[in-house]
């Protein structure tokens, strides 16, 4: 964690957000904020809307109510060119890397620059190689995405996410499916890039240990809202049942193990609803 306190300045402010996907309410009165230059983590069990939150922040979907301000702009009010202008100030690492499969590693990293800026080829080449060097994959520049391991693909995607020098870097489940070595590399890269480049990082994940090891502030989502927030130490010592259940991985707690269903005995004995499920 950084030793010095940065001046308080929120680059992302989510207030009173409500969002539904069909009949299902994903967020109901969601409030959270992300401080400049810090790593803010958003944790929660699967299905709590972590990825949806990222889609809201990048303007891919729009909230039903409430406001989402990113870098001082209300995302839900932005359309077309102004939305794209905001996205150029943001980078995002997708869960599976989302590399363009018809381009090699070099061209994947160069892609956002080629599309959004006009740089001489020599400058672009140096820029891309610098970013690839930062993630340790300069030697893999000519490989195709199909030739990369999962960890390497994610590092290439990370190089691509930082190539436009974004102010905010968003990570969607960056630790999923990685071996311990790759995971350690990604954890250190997130911290190093955040501190060295002065980026504001938002990490969405359910990997408790890794997240708590790097996050300056963590939000825990459950039941459509942020039920707890604080530093890693504060969360680890929290008495809040939802936090305790998530941190310790308990089966019993506010998040139920069983999907809602009819009475078990009644279903087996044929006296209840024989479909055996309800909503």
């Amino acid at each position: 964690m950084p030793a010095t306190e940065l001046p308080r300045s929120e680059v992302v402010e989510v207030s009173g957000v409500r969002y539904s996907a069909g009949p299902r309410v994903i967020f109901d009165d969601l409030n959270l904020s992300v401080a400049r230059g810090r790593i803010t983590a958003v944790m929660g069990p699967s299905g709590t809307g972590k990825t949806t939150l990222l889609r809201l922040l990048t303007g891919q979907v729009r909230a039903d109510a409430g406001s989402i301000r990113v870098l001082g702009q209300d995302v839900s009010q932005l359309r077309g060119a102004s939305l794209y202008a905001l996205r150029r100030r943001m980078g995002m690492l997708f869960q599976n890397g989302a590399l363009l499969t018809d381009l090699n590693v070099f061209e994947n990293v160069a892609f956002p620059v080629r599309e959004n800026a006009r740089l001489p080829e020599a400058v672009l080449r140096r820029l891309v190689l610098m970013k690839l060097e930062a993630v340790g994959l300069r030697g893999a520049a000519e490989l195709m995405p199909q030739q990369l391991s999962g960890g390497m693909a994610r590092r290439v995607a990370l190089a691509r996410a930082i190539v436009m020098d974004p102010e905010i870097l968003i990570y969607d489940e960056p630790f999923v499916g990685l071996d311990p070595v790759s995971m350690g590399i990604i954890v250190r890269l997130i911290r190093r890039l955040n501190d060295a480049l002065g980026i504001t990082s938002i990490v969405v994940s359910h990997d408790v240990r890794e997240v708590l090891s790097i996050a300056d502030r963590t939000y825990l989502l459950a039941n459509g809202r942020a039920v707890a927030s604080g530093s890693s130490a504060e969360l680890q010592h929290s008495a809040e049942p939802a936090v305790r259940q998530f941190i310790t991985g308990s089966e019993d707690g506010p998040v139920a193990f069983h999907y809602p269903a009819e009475d078990y005995a009644g279903t087996l004995l044929g006296t209840g609803d024989d479909k055996g499920r309800g909503r």
Binding site: Q60, L100, F111
Partner: protein, 245 residues
């Protein structure tokens, strides 16, 4: 019924969005050329092979039919008109839907399923301009070229069977074709091939772009592409044939 009308409306709106994206896409001729290669050049073998056999069958059937009336000399005209006005555009479009259409739909569908399209949007790159429009233009450009090649090979096939095997006089075969086939006949085929190019490519990119991001969804999009394209090609063919009469 309402769902069908809604689908037609959605495809039409998608066509408008695609056309709007085509203008900026024209500034990137490299992307379009690559798609002409992917949809056109990579379909060449199957188009040429089918063109040859369709032409050979035309030669056989035409000879059999015309010889009953003692008109074998008109074989060249019959084969050329049949190919230029009807068989060339229709068979090429059906083959295009099966070969290039499915390829486009599954490629774009997989790009959707693997978040590549979303990644582009987040990188402030419009997938309509970068992915859809170049593929649409590539298909529309490739189709008339493929039809032209199909026709040439088909006429060669008809000549191979009619003249070389069945003994129709070569001079009559070519001279009658030259005197009876007009520019209007060629234009009819050209208009049909362009219309089929728009229909087949539009449906392929539409289905791919709106595919559910799952293996099943991509498979469904591919199947729908072939079925919808084939039906639409035959419907448009009837309408254009009626319009040209």
């Amino acid at each position: 019924m309402i769902a069908a009308i809604r689908s037609i409306g959605e495809v039409f709106l998608f066509l408008l969005r695609t056309l709007a994206a085509c203008l900026p896409a024209l500034k990137r001729p490299g992307l379009i050329a690559r798609q002409v290669y992917n949809t056109g050049a990579r379909s060449l073998i199957i188009i040429m092979l089918c063109g040859l056999f369709v032409g050979m069958v035309l030669g056989l059937q035409g000879y059999d039919l015309l010889s009953r009336f003692g008109s074998e000399s008109a074989l060249g005209v019959a084969a050329a008109l049949g190919l230029l006005k009807e068989l060339g555009p229709v068979v090429t479009a059906l083959l295009f839907a099966g070969r290039a259409g499915t390829s486009l739909a599954s490629e774009i569908g997989l790009m959707r399923a693997t978040d590549q399209l979303t990644a582009m949007e987040v990188m402030a790159v419009d997938p309509m301009r970068h992915v859809v429009a170049p593929r649409f233009l590539g298909g529309v450009i490739a189709m008339p070229l493929l039809v032209a090649i199909f026709n040439v090979i088909g006429i060669f096939g008809a000549q191979l069977v009619g003249v070389t095997l069945m003994g129709v006089d070569g001079g009559t075969f070519w001279s009658q074709m030259q005197s009876a086939v007009g520019v209007d006949d060629v234009n009819e085929g050209l208009v049909k091939s362009l219309a089929f190019g728009v229909a087949c490519t539009l449906l392929a990119v539409y289905q791919g772009y709106h595919a559910q991001p799952t293996a099943e969804g991509v498979g469904l999009a591919t199947t729908r592409t072939v079925i919808a394209s084939s039906v639409l090609v035959l419907v448009i063919d009837y309408m254009l044939t009626a319009a040209f009469l």
